[in-house]
Symmetry: C2
Subunit: 248 residues, 2 copies
């Protein structure tokens, strides 16, 4: 997914950020909100980096892509930076999100408060099971997937979350795309084929655990044979090339 620049005349505010930076901005944003609640007016790159769990140099480079945002010798203005990041992420208005699949996981997601507090609004719930259609969840009524086109249009939905069983996911994705959705967050353990221009991000619990399993396996093998290289230190690592998501 490459995106060539808009051209010589640079777009008003489209820094054309590196993907890795985009993936970190939300984390900075969360940390900033936390700092704002604690009454901080400004933060140093060092402080914000610590709160977001990254290197300070990386943080500065990331923020530098947004244009000059900090003040040398002082740091970053918290509220100003929040505004800038929200602007870049397109969070200036609450985006409507559709949730398809109201099963085990779907229920939990529908009740997740983090949606509302971080720029989104679940605008509609869908399920293919007629037995579930009509059910009330968190103030919303479950509708049948056949109603997708209509509702997506009405509510101006461009982002959808798929929380169906794997075998239904591709079909749902096709219908979502046909209805006009251009971004999908997929919780089903399968790959989705979508047309160019549609973004898909995937969250797979089992994959995350399997990656951890690998490291466990490696760790136990290391401590078993060679005298383990015990390094002290503090501060953990959180890796991951792509981000992932969720919550309570």
């Amino acid at each position: 997914m490459s995106q060539q620049r808009t051209g010589p005349t640079d777009g008003p505010d489209f820094p054309d950020l590196p993907e890795a930076t985009v993936a970190r901005l939300p984390e900075y944003l969360r940390a900033l909100h936390h700092l704002a609640e604690d009454g901080h007016d400004t933060v140093s790159s060092e402080g914000l980096a610590a709160a977001a769990g990254v290197n300070s140099a990386k943080l500065r480079k990331d923020l530098s892509h947004l244009g000059r945002t900090g003040t040398r010798g002082v740091g970053y203005d918290v509220t100003l930076l929040i505004d800038q990041i929200e602007q870049v992420l397109g969070l200036t208005h609450r985006r409507a999100v559709a949730l398809v699949g109201v099963g085990n996981l779907g229920h939990a997601l529908a009740g997740y408060a983090g949606f509302g507090t971080r720029g989104f609004r679940i605008a509609a719930l869908f399920d293919a099971d007629h037995g579930r259609v009509g059910e009330h969840i968190n103030g919303l009524i479950v509708r049948h997937v056949d109603d997708l086109p209509e509702v997506v249009e009405q509510e101006s939905i461009s982002i959808a979350v798929i929380a169906t069983p794997a075998h239904a996911a591709q079909h749902v994705a096709d219908r979502l795309v046909a209805a006009g959705v251009t971004s999908v967050l997929n919780f089903a353990p399968c790959v989705l084929n979508v047309p160019e221009g549609v973004d898909v991000r995937k969250v797979d619990l089992a994959i995350e655990l399997q990656i951890l399993s690998f490291h466990e396996h490696r760790k136990s093998a290391l401590t078993a044979l060679p005298a383990a290289v015990q390094k002290p230190g503090r501060v953990g690592m959180a890796n991951r090339l792509g981000g992932e998501a969720v919550a309570t």
Copy 2:
């Protein structure tokens, strides 16, 4: 590649894989199981790559790190490859997992079938709320977090999932580490500080949506001003750097 092993004394089978490769192996594994169910005995790198949503060259390079696995002119033996990957990921036995936080999301995770079918077993549920302790979920009884050390020891748990509110996550993580857990999957929207040697992976729903939001924002800005560069093509992309980072 020949027998050379990076380490001094070569570990039995520890290719010391690139992190990016490790993050993709689970996806290959899932695709392979799917192929096996469909009766395939062998797969070409092209076929498997398509099923896993990646480039075939990347797939071959990834698999080459496991030692010779394929047969030129033929492809990869499906069941053999499954065994090899499971071996490397440490999935030869079902790993016990502890789940802390039996709220909205915790309930859903406790009932997630993908755990059992993909190498894991939820061995225990915990919550700090005494009102929830004792509750039966999916055949398991919710225990109080104070029992962590005891249960982790008994069940040989090394991996834990945190599904608590953000404000409790760090405290829970500390207790988990103290109890002997060395890998954590964190669903709470906050960064965790853990000692060296403990792995943390994070899944944050809001972050995923915000990343999608950015791309939506960019797309709408592009289609608005310049005559959109409409490229045809098919086949979608699933990123995550990681995963991408994404994982991702």
